[in-house]
Symmetry: D3
Subunit: 237 residues, 6 copies
């Protein structure tokens, strides 16, 4: 029995609120149970120096947890004077995943920045960020077409992400914090709506996992991600 | 006529939502029109080194704007590697103001940290932060008494803050961004509910202001702050 | 009775030495009793990026205390690797005040930098900095006209600054360190020679202050600032 | 046909040189073809603050590329003033993997630091680092037993790591730089000598990959890792 | 003929003003012609961590140039966020030289910090700093004896420093900026009053120098340093 | 008797291995006994901003010790977030010395960067770096001529460096760590193959040294450097 009473394959209730703030070209609040992430998409002309002159666009992401989004307060990274390794790792993952969803040539020499700020954390903030940021990105791409910045929709397919893992020897889907903190294995899967993989990151926290467990976790992820794509579609309808 | 149709002394609709997030000992979302600030209060045992051994508590604050809380995206301070002068100035003001509301001896050797994160900005974010943080602090003090950490309520009086200024030669109250950006003078006033002043910071942005205008702005502030104290009280009732 | 034997409205002896160092376009040592600040003005072609193409000039300031300008040694900010919040706040105040004294259009696309380095501190270093920097700036503007860099004097009016406060319940002018450290309220006032206000920053250090006390402090400031304008004029004669 | 003439499942020649430098408690130069990484293990008494008092040891790692280990010179991170996201991500991966190989309780309150410095890079530096660092760690653990610092060997099992990927639609093993830079998918696998997984990190660089391709890459990795365990054993014999 | 009309071996007029500021335990303004350096000595109880428990004291130094001590303004190191290589090199030299003048055991577990701040620069700031800091240190040691912090004078001998060099093929003493900037060789010599060497740092800026020129420069330095010891003694009398 | 059994004037066995790594335009591993430094030369088009438009090239250097190149592990500078004073001092010395060996006009607007990374340290790392970097630079200059980047060899003369010192009252050559750590005086000498001096840096670590000892050390250095020039020549033959 899981702490929330969910079955092994059951994900938490997910809600997606678009236009959560008024200034961003795309602004989504995504909730996976008690995990709440604000995903804001910004459209800017031009690309970073290393991309110049290729006629292609760029997509980048930044991730942050509000200091008191967690049970105990963590130090503000701006006050510490640097972003931690975990933050950098997550924002690199978010950006890489989103770039895999878009034809950068069709984006023109423009940059999309996805800011994912965790308002409240209860496990799965990086996968919630990716899933919410994809919706915010779609809104920003619509904005770009409406403004005539781009002519063709550069979106290749939606993407979404889900965390799965092994708790007490059993593969489970969408771990909340209390499960995550004692899981033997934690795996984040980013998939396209066409059922292909973008990222798979599995980590043995305590015990090494078998190739069979790996397969079972991937199956769980595939199943849960199907639901997430439906929820994204409903939100965008 | 003001852009919003308000009279010179009229403040924007203010709403205060308590328990906005679930982990903090006090968590308040305060809205002044389109300005939205999340104020989280954290209670921690112990005090910073320079306060040790005095039998007194400490109150500190941190302020940040989400990168896309504004019309155009501003660089994330954590990514830049340091907090800007404006941020430091504001969080020093917030903390100083809140310390003036509390008897630090009654707080014991405990620290309160008030995190004020601007979700959406439309002028007056520092005064909204102070006004909201005071409510979050009251909730945190209640938590401390309920947990037996302190025995007596250390709150001396509520405080609230309001921005006033001079636009097109006329003193006005609670400036939104469009007014603020072209105001000749901008003044932030922090007051106690007993009608005394904690901070007065008036700045000529364009034209120097007369001693008479100074008095008129103070009067406007006093009037608007009365309303804010009523709103705080209603929220805490 | 004040520690120095001064009356409530009496400011300390103030001396202004021009051409204190030989390289700067304006170089002033200003002394308020034992407070000594070296104010160097530098003229440079061009303006910061955010000002480019507007045909206007820029004025900026930097403030620092020598590590042993105070009773006990404070850590050198260059060694710590960052400027503290107090430093940033003060140098922003100095620059803002000086910009209010000058018609930036008449300055052309040139930048004035005012370096205010505290050699010895005994209270009121920020107001001494502003008062001295204004004189150094006048010398730098004269240099610019002599060199043909500008044709018209862009100075709108002199500015000066004074600290006032409430000690033992009594409003007093130009606090030295021993008074400042135990004052209930501290207020810095920046005024034009035409009697208008540029900045008013009043802070309750211990007790909140009434609107009446606010008025009394402003009156004291106005009176003391009159004397400072006379001293500036004599120094520039 | 692969650039090196290797078959799809063939790894590059791997050599492990122990005692490469004379000061470290374990010092290994590992070579995967032209990729050369120096892995130094340091034994130090005590553990980081967050581990104190648990009676357990700690294992950490640092990774760096010499500026000219690559085709073009990259900026030295010490000169830039910070470690990049890629560096932090890799050293977190190395440390996490090694901790999974050791019973931290048997290590006592001691810390092992594994410095992995890339002397020459040709793809697969992170997996070479893990594979070499495990050997250096074994030497350091032997040193600890010889010195009487620990009594029991805390090693649970050897670990090794290998990169696999998809190039021109074909799964291949142990990619060198020229393959890595144009691979559609890149996957790093860390395994125990008992055939269980520690880390799986697969990333679609260009095209998303299918669940079948995922399985094929895992098979390739399992096969290549068997060889690496033999090479480690021979080196330690 | 030298720009100043001095002979090859003639040093500039040197003045030493003690008690230049009022808070430091030793405060000296030293002038070598137009070069002016303020040297403040601070006495603090305790020693840095790496010196603890040895029953010995420590002497350290910090060096800085005011931004406008030079012909053109240089960026403030506190604003840049780090001290440059030249600054670190000079303050290491100053501290090392002063430590060679003192018996650290007789100093007890106390720390002397010598702050050398260049008010105005015209060549030779590092040697002026050492020469002036030695006098400030003597005053601080006297203070320590007067306060009973130490019983015996730990000074082994006075030290002083002088720059010599080769200009237009001719060895010269005490170079001012205009000579320094075009010298072929620049050499800084730190000597004890007993005629022994503490530091010799000779650098070919343009042309390599011969062993004979090396000897001639050392002779010039020895001669000029004799004068400096007389000036130090007179100042301390 | 010296710890190694060497005579006072005898240097350690020195070996120079060219083409140690494969990517750099010059790559030299230099060994002075147990001291091993990898010196990589990089050729890049263009010069730093302050050199632009002068038609001259630039030579710069970076120095670093691998954390475990020494007996105990030292903190990685990239992790600390800044290069220490010793590092900056050494890399400034290396670069200055190499620039003295080259006619920068003949180099064209190109930059040479010499990365000196200490693999294993046993005293004399800075002088080994200079001696090895000169050979790597020669290889890079040959590369530039072969590629047609420059037409004339800009090398004026080879340079080499050696440390000498005074141990137990006796001048000795090429100190290893055990001697260096207890030497009374340490002196680094950089010389041209034509027998002229580029840098002389002598430091009294414990006892001040006489002018006679200074001469003796210089003689020892001259003698040892002759041998180093022969070794360089043999390596380049």
């Amino acid at each position: 029995m899981r702490p929330s009473g969910r079955t092994a394959s059951q994900i938490r209730p997910v809600t997606i609120t678009r236009n959560f703030t008024c200034h961003a070209e795309g602004s989504v609040l995504i909730e996976f149970g008690n995990t709440k992430v604000l995903c804001n998409a910004t459209v800017e002309e031009g690309v970073p120096r290393f991309m110049k002159g290729q006629g292609k666009g760029w997509i980048t992401a930044e991730y942050s947890m509000l200091p008191r989004s967690t049970h105990t307060r963590s130090q503000r990274e701006a006050a510490r004077g640097k972003q931690g390794g975990r933050t950098l790792e997550i924002q690199r993952l978010i950006a890489r995943s989103l770039r895999a969803a878009v034809d950068l040539k069709l984006l023109g020499e423009n940059t999309l920045t996805l800011d994912c700020d965790v308002i409240q954390a209860d496990g799965g903030t990086r996968t919630a960020s990716i899933t919410g940021a994809c919706v915010a990105m779609v809104d920003a791409l619509t904005y770009m077409r409406n403004k005539g910045i781009i002519k063709t929709n550069p979106l290749k397919h939606m993407i979404a992400a889900l965390s799965v893992g092994i708790c007490d020897g059993q593969p489970v889907s969408d771990l909340e914090y209390i499960e995550d903190s004692k899981a033997e294995t934690d795996m984040n899967v980013v998939m396209t709506e066409t059922g292909k993989l973008i990222e798979v990151q599995g980590t043995a926290e305590g015990e090494a996992f078998s190739f069979e467990e790996m397969s079972e976790m991937l199956e769980l992820a595939k199943h849960g991600l199907r639901e997430l794509f439906d929820i994204q579609k409903a939100a965008l309808a």
